[in-house]
Symmetry: C2
Subunit: 320 residues, 2 copies
Amino acid sequence: MTQTPKRAFILEEGPREGFQIEKGPIPTARKIELIDALADTGLRQIQIVSFVDPRRVPGMADAEAVVAGIAPRPGVLYTGLWLNERGFERARATGRLDMRGTIVAGASSTFLKRNQNRTIEEQFEAQRALVARYKALGVPVTRGGVMAAFGCNDEGAAEPARVVALVGEILAIARDHDVTLDYVSFADTMGWATPLSVKRLIGAAQDAFPHMEWALHLHDTRGLGLANAYAGLEMGVARFDAAVAGLGGCPFAGNAGAAGNVCTEDLVFMCEEMGIETGVDLDKLIACALLAEEIVGHPLPGAVKIGGSLARLRAAMRSA
Amino acid sequence: MTQTPKRAFILEEGPREGFQIEKGPIPTARKIELIDALADTGLRQIQIVSFVDPRRVPGMADAEAVVAGIAPRPGVLYTGLWLNERGFERARATGRLDMRGTIVAGASSTFLKRNQNRTIEEQFEAQRALVARYKALGVPVTRGGVMAAFGCNDEGAAEPARVVALVGEILAIARDHDVTLDYVSFADTMGWATPLSVKRLIGAAQDAFPHMEWALHLHDTRGLGLANAYAGLEMGVARFDAAVAGLGGCPFAGNAGAAGNVCTEDLVFMCEEMGIETGVDLDKLIACALLAEEIVGHPLPGAVKIGGSLARLRAAMRSA
């Protein structure tokens, strides 16, 4: 029986997830303002931009300018996302990002075709080429990832056995290139996960690869984001991706307007209230969430930024 | 070790929680329209109004007219809320409600004073008087309830031992009047619960009173509503209060604008996707949530009404 972890590590993806999907345009300076504020909360890693085709994702056309404009804070890892070698080279050219390679698989061939225009086989081929490139450049390869690991709007629920087999292929690529991954992340890209399916998939993965560490990238498309995170914590998962204020959204057919990633400050609140340390200052993070809302100019989904932290109420009681 | 239940019973409180707090005014006919639509979803109990002071809660001034206007559906229990004998007599006078008595305690004396202007002792005295009245009239007394059972903005976290002691007092009142409660409900009135505190309180209550059944009335003030419901399900709790679309809100100082009850359709979605039957037609319930939103004239918090049900996507896959 696994135990709820004592510490949780949260990878903040709000700037990337959010500014990628907002109609905008959001001024570059405001993106930088939010990133610098987030770096002051105790978050240890922030994914700040993606290097993708600006014709498809105009909100990320200024990725290089954002990276150039931040005031890096010692101890914070600033990372970017890319889907192919072209994006990787753009990220590397900035000279300011923490470069780490990921080996990514997709549990749904329909999704993979749509999102990256590749078959599952072509995706693995591309990953092998990328890993070879990372190795040649001395870029550490630290993370594996399975997209749509719980289900897909076109193919339905993902079978844990099939997802675990994909993890096996990811680990084989790592082994073939003599790299050791720190962890493998399961992404609930289209909001199919439930607490039960989180437990089943994590349990199956733990059975198959008992020495691996696992992470969850959860979306709140149907409101279950935090319940799914809690189920993950119960299985011993200690790594989560999240987005401040619930920045981001869901670009997939049938979910237009739905919520994006699980909200960072709500997740931090849940962890801290249960005695799981995050290292994050919740009040500072709530201030970031309110700033994010002001920057995008419309309400964002997070709850704690409205309901308020309990620490604040406890302090008021002590001083009463 | 308790087991996740095979069926969950959801008490719909949206019309009462929601129309009580909306600035409105909401036309009586529209309240009735929502109640009649909810009765057609498979929900088995709907709390449709409260009988409270119309000067304090103007949104419930038309409670009698709402009760008179609904088209009762066989098999659905229509209930009301009251806090004192005057409210009870108003409910009884309608002649159209399912009358059931509750024995209610408050875990916070500050909250009790503010909400009902009574000390804890006065509250128990009032409960004894009410139960005597219920007995004299042949009204069944079926439910116990503890308000602010997880914490209070004025007094902080509620100790499980203290809440369990209050349950003991509730059961003593029941025993003294020779009534047997079906269950005791814990209300997270001000959004202090976490999945961990839900498990601790339910566990302590189960240890103390192993033959009693438990219910949860959860608020989503800080986003943990569904995570807390999941923790309850894991402890074997099968009864939940909820509000369609997340109707309602939080009238307490420091939480203005925060979300209200856990959202019914999101809870139904979570249960059904985990194989826990609710008897509710999710698509019909989502239609009710959209109707509720139209009636109140502003966005309501539920997620599934935007993200969409998975059943709909699965049906599209089958027909493709």
